[in-house]
């Protein structure tokens, strides 16, 4: 069953609120084991990277062969700039400018 976008946002917010609020009710004074905390972190990183790849290189279930090289180069630049400047926004802006220039050139 498919539901409206507003409903999805409302359910998503409710789930986020539950995750935030539950520890305030049940986990007061407790700590997660270190290994579980790491697993959550790695899953989170893996999801983020998968989303980067799918958003950047795919449209409607198809691989965007023509645009992929320039986007990959811009992504690499964004990573290098963000890493060296320690600023995610600077990296994003650098990559954005490069991909824009490349799209105008080709």
């Amino acid at each position: 069953m498919e539901i409206s976008r507003i409903s999805i946002i409302l359910i998503m917010g409710l789930m986020a609120f539950t995750v935030r609020a539950l520890p305030q009710v049940f986990f007061v004074g407790r700590k997660f084991p270190d290994s579980l905390e790491r697993l959550l972190r790695y899953l989170s990183y893996a999801f983020i990277c998968s989303i980067i790849a799918v958003t950047l290189f795919m449209t409607g279930g198809n691989f965007e062969m023509r645009a992929a090289p320039s986007r990959a180069v811009a992504l690499a630049l964004a990573i290098v700039v963000a890493y060296t400047t320690r600023s995610a926004v600077s990296g994003m802006l650098a990559g954005m400018l490069l991909v824009l220039m490349l799209s105008w050139l080709w």
Binding site: R5, L22, V89
Partner: protein
């Protein structure tokens, strides 16, 4: 009086977060507009979900009308990171009523967690040397500080998103590639800034490479499956390495 003072202290401590939130929230608003979201959806999502990474994560699938279950699972998994953050803050709100705790937990975010958490740790160390320290009273003071950080950052995020949406409406044609890059570029930047150790780069690279074949095999769930596999495998490898080094 003390509550107001602590709230103001929290707001002052949150200024760097506001500065970081302005471009991020603008970027989210612009990206959401570029993905065809409506203004009210953008504001509602920023105010009710209030989670930059999760909002960016579900933007593509949501705009493309992908399975609602897929969007919800992705969003939920992204927001699981709030669990340990909220858990870590909980002991500092000793003595605070359940309702204020529940309401204020809405503004728990990565940024609004780190600043109060470090501040509370520092204050607790000082309090250990103070015989007149009352933990029950301090719980409300800590909550005020947390709300000063979290509440003000929340407002910056929501208002910034709305502005970003309005700015994007004025973007001329031909900027599609740049707008499409905002979401993955911002994510990549966030990860690059946080990059440390060996496991994180391995997780990121493997997930990045495996996602497209996964999505080609199954557009809905393929990338979620490959990401889960990568996360669990690297974690398992790390656990195995820990055990091996403990034995040797």
């Amino acid at each position: 009086m003390r509550f107001a003072l602590r709230f103001r202290q929290g707001m002052k401590a949150a200024i760097p977060i506001w500065i970081a939130f302005v471009p991020s929230s603008l970027a989210w608003g612009i990206a959401a507009q570029a993905h065809g979201m409506k203004f009210e959806e953008v504001v509602l999502m920023s105010a009710w979900v209030y989670s930059g990474p999760a909002q960016f994560a579900v933007l593509g699938p949501l705009a493309e009308g992908k399975s609602s279950l897929q969007v919800l699972v992705a969003g939920f998994l992204m927001n699981l990171r709030f669990l340990p953050m909220s858990t870590a803050l909980a002991p500092y709100f000793h003595g605070v009523g359940r309702l204020p705790l529940l309401l204020s937990s809405h503004v728990v975010s990565a940024s609004s967690f780190i600043v109060p958490y470090l501040q509370f740790q520092k204050e607790r160390q000082h309090a250990a040397e103070d015989p007149g320290f009352d933990e029950a009273t301090e719980g409300y003071g800590n909550l005020a500080f947390f709300l000063g950080v979290g509440g003000s950052s929340f407002l910056v995020w929501v208002i910034g998103s709305a502005f970003g949406y309005a700015i994007a409406l004025g973007f001329p044609a031909g900027f599609d590639e740049a707008l499409k890059f905002i979401l993955p570029g911002y994510f990549a930047g966030l990860l690059a800034v946080e990059m440390r150790g060996w496991a994180m780069p391995v997780v990121c690279l493997a997930a990045l490479v495996a996602a497209v074949p996964g999505a080609l095999a199954s557009p809905g769930w393929g990338w979620l499956l490959t990401a889960s596999l990568v996360g669990v495998l690297v974690w398992g490898l790390e656990q195995w390495k820990f055990r091996a080094s403990a034995l040797s």
